[in-house]
Symmetry: C2
Subunit: 704 residues, 2 copies
């Protein structure tokens, strides 16, 4: 509907001309930097290709998502998942294309387990016969699968799960059973409303001397719903667990079994099995190679973390360059209002995070290289020597990098003030979706123990034998530390990048030595050490981030190449990242005698100076991350900078609440004008109690 | 529907017996502590009274809220707001009763501005004639009001707002006009769909020498919607701005004017006005008293912060006492799984926050006392001397306390792992609702400048005149610092509580002196100092929190009283809060020479020891905060500890998504079983595009 607002423009200066000036004022080579960051696996080309397919399709439009009821989000999620599957066949997408489509659609949907955990279990845990039967069904999507491991009562501690699979020697079947409420499967994606098959992880119970004994958790493949009606089979209760942070389009589910029988062939039997004649257990081979793929998954998590953080920083850097508020306090007369990004109190929240996106990138790259190198060493020479190091690095880095990204998103959002709080920011969904990451794939406070345990082990070797021949990466730094540990250092972190790298190594070595001494020499309980173990893992992981960043921009020629001016800015970003990270844990550097209090006093001014150097390049640096507007879904962060028109349009033309008129009179129970009091009362009570609008009656609620 | 799950129980031990044991194992006097914390204004009695009225009313049921579409949340919000108004008349509620009902309902609704900003403006800004006309209409709720200050382009910088009120000397009217899109009112609560009147803040433009000149922002009262149809009046465009973080039941709005005329009497004219004969400006009196009420509002914000944080900590302390995961790593054989709250890595996230709830409490109390004392001094003796100190304290404390609460909620949520991420945690709405607080009522990074400016001013006085007679609270500590500033200290923070308090004062004084020197002696630009000003405000505010806590549990007899055992635990909590806070900013204590590196090394072990002492009392300490289950709305945090049954029931019996069966086959476009492909396609496209289900057709979407 046309009205007088159609003629109005935002006050000068316009966001688009501000961003043009920002871009003109920087000599960062955006195309080259984008290629430097995103050439792996043809990322940029692929993004363009898939985006051009998805964006015009109405069902992939995101603008109404924040208005929808959660059940409707699942409906839409299922429709989108089906559409993606059909598109992938039509366009002949490979696995990378599919992943790109998921990334751009930016929604975890009910087919998400099919090609991941479900297919992986079939591929890696089935014996040949099982594989021949199941793999074609999965690959042709004849069945829809999910993965049922986590339970209501047990998550991280997989060994503690309660679901049972008891061998019945008479019928040669397994009886799958949930003895308690806490044995209910819980959280399992695609289980709630969608999947007709599940990998079920259950305690394998076998008879031994007249009693049943558990051989530990094992995987079973189980049909759980009728292939025609999609209703749960008899003896199984299934449902969706309800709303949670993010993932509204995914049906995370629960499932319980009441003495449900499955055949002997249901037990996935590549590595272990049950002799169906005697009911005896056949032991698994050493599954050491699992470590390798875990590292790969975690490298992917770090690479995802950088892109997610880049999204938040893109929105913040663009909007905060445009937003003006207050004149300079020391200016005389009527000075123009300042871009908010010019204030140091805003810079300190955004620019170190901008530097962090690159730090995450180079460490993600290093992890990929480590993974591929290690895999080659194993396959070609049977050399398993780097597995432990790789696993330890990946645990601590998963914890640190997902924490940095999750906290960073919220820091960016708050830095944007009121509009960061609004739905037009694009930050609400981003925040909600990412907040699972610090918890899943190993809780961020728990898995750091693995990194710390490894470091203690290496330090023990070194301390026992100070002339040890180094075999792992940390050995050199530990040997140096042990040789000089009584010496206080004061690394010249402000003038020398190598000294900066060394200071991080020193602190990690110091904490490793302390932990070794407490555990191995003083023999203190593990639980009592948990805080220092967590700090140790963080120190080591920060040291890796700093080292990998340093190696990429100082120790070698950038590959793919960067011109001198762009490289110079990347080097400033390295210093900003390293000094900001150091400052955040400054007292640890002091305690570990890597730094003097006098030198620390110069760190904040140095950070402020580096931020002033980065500031003119902020917009072009985020441009290089090449996050398309479709993915940002943000009035504040769009490439063209037309912030206020977009915010206003979104509210004035697209907000469904504005299509109704309401009765504001407290004396009347009527809510929508014209509906009458009695209708309103019944409608609102049913809404509050959840007893309306979701019943099945041959069709869904909101018919057209 | 009955099924086999009805017979199942959670695995042993049951949550209820765990919480019973936790309660038996602590000698905290819960009733006495509850009374100590919550006797002001009959809080506990009032909570009981209002709860018994609200809880049985179906429309106040919260269980379906996370499933609802945002437009429906506004419908419900309006219905609830009307019901509250009717209940208040029926039961003769006073203002405190009403506030309690709002607190328990836990939802900001569309009448929220009526008795607050709208009524306050009428009361405080109207001249007698205006007041006589408007006040009865507001008090009888004949009109529904809102407050329109913030605009799309200007929030914190009120002087920069663009909406104009130009005086027309011919017609003796003001012409209210929005010259740009950024001049649109934005964020204003109750404006979007509800209010028929608004206080509009606009630049008052008066003719001067043939040109119009602004006299700055002034308040006007304007009817904005038709009293019968509730449609916007001609020349005004209004709407709801759309979804945002939290506040789904509130219609935050936008509004633009196209040369809209209001009479001379629309300008609220208690302090200033326009001579309608000559169109000249009548200048305002000095509005110094505004500072006083701002302090009161901020004391309320701190008191609210403590209760909000107490909710998060209540849920976390109960659930994490119940949740078991992993056996002790050093145990031999099959040891039972540990309560998660026994792990130091969990304690470090929860127990300092538990201590923080009490720190916030005592500082909120101190702020109230300061406010009432200052008001009395002003009213009885015309003594304005403490206003500046009070205002400075309130700015820094608002910033610090809302940041502590907002971050604390998320810390608690993450500490609860997977279930903290789920809707049954009660943490999602809590998080979403509270996240506005660090931004509104003065952005947390911006208002700290006010505190810092005050401290620089006092330090300047002291530095100029080291024999100054102290007139403000900080003067004594500043005088002491200036007299001894070249002396490095090493406060005995681990054995002496007074030394701990002194260490915080020392650090704040040091940073004040540095800021004074940079600004006053070196004459550095204000903007370049912003980071250190923010740190200074935080240091001063932390010092106040520590001092107020100390005064309450060491320097005086607790009032209302606490028995010795309970008091002993409060004193442990004081030390935990102070040492944890110190440790978080440890490098600042080192830089300000309040502490040696050697002593700092002993802080972490001391914190671990204090946490071990607090741990057995955690459940009873949160019990004392007396947060009712209705407000917690949390399966994890309910008083009885029946975590797993509640989680399961919520999913299995109350999740509307489980009432439908879906078609999982990717080859079919059908989504709900039976609806058919064509129906599904049209329905889902309309859902994605937002073109369905919200049209007005004499009634709302989901008729019964």
């Amino acid at each position: 509907m046309a009205d007088f607002t159609d003629k109005l423009r935002p006050a000068e200066p316009q966001g688009s001309s501000i961003l043009s000036q920002e871009r003109e004022g920087s000599n960062v080579n955006v195309d080259q930097l984008a290629n430097h960051l995103l050439s792996r696996n043809d990322f940029l080309k692929r993004q363009k290709k898939i985006l051009s397919i998805l964006e015009p399709i109405p069902i992939f439009c995101k603008k109404n998502q924040l208005n929808m009821a959660r059940p409707d989000r699942y409906h839409l999620g299922l429709a989108r998942a089906k559409t993606l599957r059909r598109l992938s066949l039509k366009h002949g997408w490979n696995r990378d294309d599919y992943i790109m489509a998921d990334y751009l659609m930016d929604e975890m949907g009910p087919y998400a387990l099919q090609a991941t955990m479900f297919a992986t279990s079939i591929r890696e845990q089935c014996n040949d016969e099982q594989k021949a039967y199941w793999e074609p069904k999965v690959e042709n999507w004849e069945i829809i699968g999910c993965y049922g491991q986590t339970e209501l009562g047990h998550g991280s501690n997989v060994k503690g799960i309660e679901c049972q699979a008891r061998w019945d020697p008479k019928t040669k079947e397994f009886i799958i059973h949930s003895p308690t409420i806490t044995a209910s499967k819980w959280w399992n994606g695609a289980l709630g409303r969608t999947a007709n098959h599940a990998i079920v992880v259950a305690q394998l119970l076998l008879p031994e001397n007249g009693k049943y004994k558990s051989q530990g958790p094992h995987q079973f493949i189980v049909q759980i719903r009728d292939m025609k009606t999609n209703k749960p089979l008899g003896g199984i209760v299934i449902g969706d667990i309800g709303p949670k942070y993010g993932y509204p389009g995914m049906d995370n589910g629960y499932m319980l079994f009441d003495q449900f029988r499955v055949p002997h062939s249901a037990l996935l039997s590549k590595y272990s099995g049950v002799d169906s004649e005697h009911g005896t257990y056949m032991k698994p081979d050493n599954p050491a190679l699992v470590y390798g793929s875990l590292t790969f998954v975690r490298a992917q998590i770090i690479m995802q973390a950088r892109l997610v953080l880049a999204r938040a920083v893109t929105i913040a850097a663009r909007y905060l360059s445009i937003r003006r508020q207050f004149s300079d306090r020391d200016s005389k007369g009527a000075a123009p209002e300042q871009a908010v990004l010019n204030y140091p109190t805003v810079q300190i929240r955004i620019l170190p995070l901008l530097a962090t996106t690159f730090a995450l990138h180079y460490t993600g790259e290093a992890m990929y290289k480590l993974y591929y190198g290690t895999r080659e060493a194993i396959e070609k020479k049977g050399d398993l020597s780097r597995l432990a190091e790789m696993h330890a690095a990946s645990s601590g880095l998963k914890s640190l990098c997902t924490t940095l990204a999750a906290d960073g998103i919220e820091t960016c959002r708050r830095a944007m003030g009121g509009h960061g709080f609004g739905g037009g920011s694009g930050m609400i969904a981003l925040n909600n979706e990412y907040l699972s990451k610090p918890t899943v794939e190993g809780d961020n406070w728990m898995i750091t123990q693995q990194t710390a345990a490894y470091l203690i082990k290496r330090m023990t070797e070194v301390a026992k034998n100070p002339s040890l021949k180094p075999t792992e990466s940390v050995d050199v730094q530990f040997l140096d530390f042990v040789a000089n540990k009584s010496r206080a250092r004061d690394y010249d972190i402000l003038s020398s990048e190598t000294e900066l790298v060394e200071a991080f190594k020193h602190r990690a070595s110091y904490l490793s030595y302390q932990a070794y001494h407490t555990r191995v020499v003083e023999k203190k309980p593990w639980t009592s050490m948990m805080l220092s173990l967590h700090r140790l893992s963080r120190a080591h992981s920060e040291s890796l981030l700093v080292l990998n960043f340093y190696n990429a921009v100082f120790a070698s020629t950038p590959d793919p190449p960067l011109d001198d001016k762009t490289l110079a800015i990347m080097r400033i970003l390295f210093r900003l990242f390293a000094l900001f990270t150091l400052d955040t844990s400054a007292s640890e550097f002091l305690l570990s005698k890597a730094l003097s209090v006098e030198r620390l006093a110069m760190v904040t001014p140095a950070i402020e100076e580096l931020m002033a150097q980065v500031r003119p390049h902020a917009v072009k640096l985020v441009d290089a991350w090449s996050v398309p507007d479709y993915l940002l879904e943000s009035a504040l962060g769009s490439y063209d900078g037309d912030v206020y028109n977009r915010l206003f349009h979104k509210a004035h033309k697209e907000n469904p609440l504005n299509m109704l008129t309401f009765n504001p009179d407290w004396k009347s129970e009527e809510i929508v004008m014209g509906e009458g009091e009695e209708n309103a009362r019944r409608r609102l009570e049913a809404l509050a109690l959840g007893t309306t609008g979701h019943e099945q009656s041959g069709g869904p609620r909101s018919k057209l």
